[in-house]
């Protein structure tokens, strides 16, 4: 039994690890989307984390937990810097500004020799394993669930439903949005570093617009009314291309098709339920 499981893990290792890191990316999208903010900078933040992590491991040989912490901190810092001016933007404007960040960074990676240039960085030691990836995913998911059941979850839902009403209710909307963007960036960076440390290679084109859209699709497919949605969405969209392998080049068409169908028929995502935030039922 154990050997069968080991075989399975070994042959599908990168797929299984990918499920975990993509789920973390889905949650990073959830962090901003649950406030109604559309950021397409997730791939850029992921890239900052991946490059930070890979360089710290390759050049300085730092211990892995420290590498992961730095890989989360670097994009969080970037989010703080770009957050100030972009916080005033909303809707499609924030999306465009964050796309811009991704493009700027991609060109910067290509033209910086210390970052491997267009060839990227290879030979990154495989330090991320099943327990680290899924352990972190579990902790992050638990954090989101707990937060969403507290007064913070209520405030977030209020902001998503009606920003002005939330403001008048005493909710510091700008602070919530900034915090969400920073958390979102940290998670994306963490996922990027984990990804770099099992795929052993990163390149500048991995963190471009296409990746940003994939991450968004995890959240849209699963739904953002609960943190479970983006995790499920990431699992489905990561596993599906493997399951549809016999269809060869057509398999990616299914990812697009599924998203179109979900947006039309299940606009709240496949997990559209919501978490109640009233604690235990009071004696009415």
């Amino acid at each position: 039994m154990m050997t069968t499981l080991d075989d399975l893990l070994w042959s599908y290792q990168s797929l299984i690890y990918g499920l975990g890191t993509n789920a973390i990316l889905g949650l990073s999208m959830y962090a901003v989307l649950q406030l109604g903010q559309l950021s397409l900078g997730q791939a850029a933040f992921m890239g900052i984390g991946a490059y930070t992590g890979a360089l710290l491991t390759l050049k300085l040989g730092l211990p892995f937990p420290l590498v992961l912490a730095a890989a989360a901190a670097a994009p969080a810092l970037a989010a703080l810097v770009i957050g100030g001016p972009t916080m005033k933007l909303s809707g499609v404007h924030l999306a465009i500004a964050t796309i811009g960040l991704g493009e700027v960074l991609r060109v910067a990676y290509i033209n910086t020799d210390a970052m491997g240039g267009a060839l990227g960085l290879s030979g990154i030691p495989e330090k991320a394993d099943f327990s680290i990836i899924f352990g972190l995913l579990a902790v992050i998911l638990a954090g989101f669930i707990l937060a969403s059941r507290s007064k913070i979850g209520r405030a977030c839902e209020a902001i998503r439903e009606d920003e002005d009403a939330a403001r008048v209710m005493g909710i510091d909307v700008s602070a919530y949005k900034m915090t969400a963007l920073v958390i979102s960036a940290a998670l994306a960076g963490l996922a990027g570093a984990l990804n770099a440390h099992f795929s052993s290679f990163i390149g500048p084109n991995e963190f471009a617009f296409e990746t940003a859209v994939s991450i968004l699709s995890f959240a849209i497919l699963g739904g953002v009314t609960t943190p479970f949605g983006p995790v499920l969405g990431a699992f489905v969209l990561t596993a599906l291309p493997e399951l549809l392998r016999p269809l060869h080049d057509f398999r990616l068409v299914f990812n697009g098709l599924i998203i179109v169908l979900v947006v039309i028929f299940l606009p709240r995502g496949i997990l559209g339920f919501r978490i109640r935030r009233t604690g235990k039922p009071p004696p009415c």
């Binding site: 707990l146 007064k151 209020a158 005493g170 909710i171 919501r274 935030r277 009415c284």
Partner: protein, 260 residues
């Protein structure tokens, strides 16, 4: 309680509120009336902080709040409702009221997330308080329904309960009786009088003149963004400028001449 001084808001090509000044005395019901487009809601949005004034100052409980963001005003004790209903539709009625309590929930966020005993006590106390508020406005039996499912008049009452949840000293009500039937309006009037007895100060915008005249201690009348009159209900009822603003010059002249 609240002093608005020379408050002005200009939009491109239109001065919606023009040099308006008035003072709301503590523990009174003060009404802001005027024909549609007089600038009442614009004034409300400036007082609650959603719209920055072009000029003028707002003082609340002796502090200048002209440039404070809305959530800080809420913390200082200002609550409001909206003319076009803005309950959080997907939340339950009870959750709406709990959200209104946000600025009064003091437990630090890590403790709230980790459900420390202090956070749980606070939530339990909050729930009891929220239910009491719902009883007060008369919709307690609907506490568990999604707010969007409530009837129009009940959503108005929910907005009042949600605003009261932050323990405001001043409550701003934007057309609280709109869309209510006479029975509901009378009940709402009783509720507002009860709230004033309990020490609350209320500033309200309303078109239902019977309702306004019954409740108000003082009225400020706006027309085309300017203050045209101020006084008690009797002064306003007999003020020729006010009658003219509402009914037009011809009718006002006929009334003055004693025509039926």
């Amino acid at each position: 309680m609240l002093t608005v001084h020379a408050l002005t808001r200009a939009f491109t090509g239109l001065v919606a509120v023009d040099q308006v000044s008035f003072t709301v005395a503590p523990n009174t019901i003060h009404a802001l009336i005027g024909p549609n487009g007089a600038g009442k809601t614009t004034l409300f949005n400036m007082i609650s902080g959603l719209l920055p004034p072009s000029d003028g100052t707002i003082a609340f409980q002796n502090a200048d709040i002209t440039h404070l963001p809305p959530h800080r005003r809420s913390r200082l004790g200002m609550g409001r409702t909206f003319q076009n209903l803005r309950v959080f539709g997907e939340m339950t009625v009870l959750e709406n009221v709990l959200t209104g309590m946000h600025p009064r929930l003091g437990v630090a966020w890590p403790l709230a997330v980790l459900r420390s005993p202090a956070a749980r006590n606070e939530e339990t106390a909050g729930l009891a308080k929220a239910l009491n508020l719902l009883r007060k406005v008369g919709i307690a039996e609907q506490a568990r329904r999604p707010a969007a499912d409530l009837a129009y008049g009940d959503q108005r009452r929910l907005e009042i309960a949600r605003a009261l949840a932050s323990d405001p000293a001043l409550l701003l009500l934007d057309e609280p009786a709109a869309g209510m039937n006479p029975t509901e309006t009378a009940a709402l009037g009783d509720l507002l009088l009860e709230l004033r007895r309990e020490g609350l100060t209320i500033l309200l915008v309303e078109h239902d003149m019977g309702f306004v005249m019954r409740l108000s201690d003082r009225l400020t009348v706006l027309n085309f963004g300017r203050k045209i009159a101020e006084g008690g209900p009797d002064d306003i009822r007999n003020d020729p400028t006010v009658i003219e603003a509402y009914l037009g010059t011809k009718v006002a002249r006929r009334l003055a001449a004693g025509a039926p």
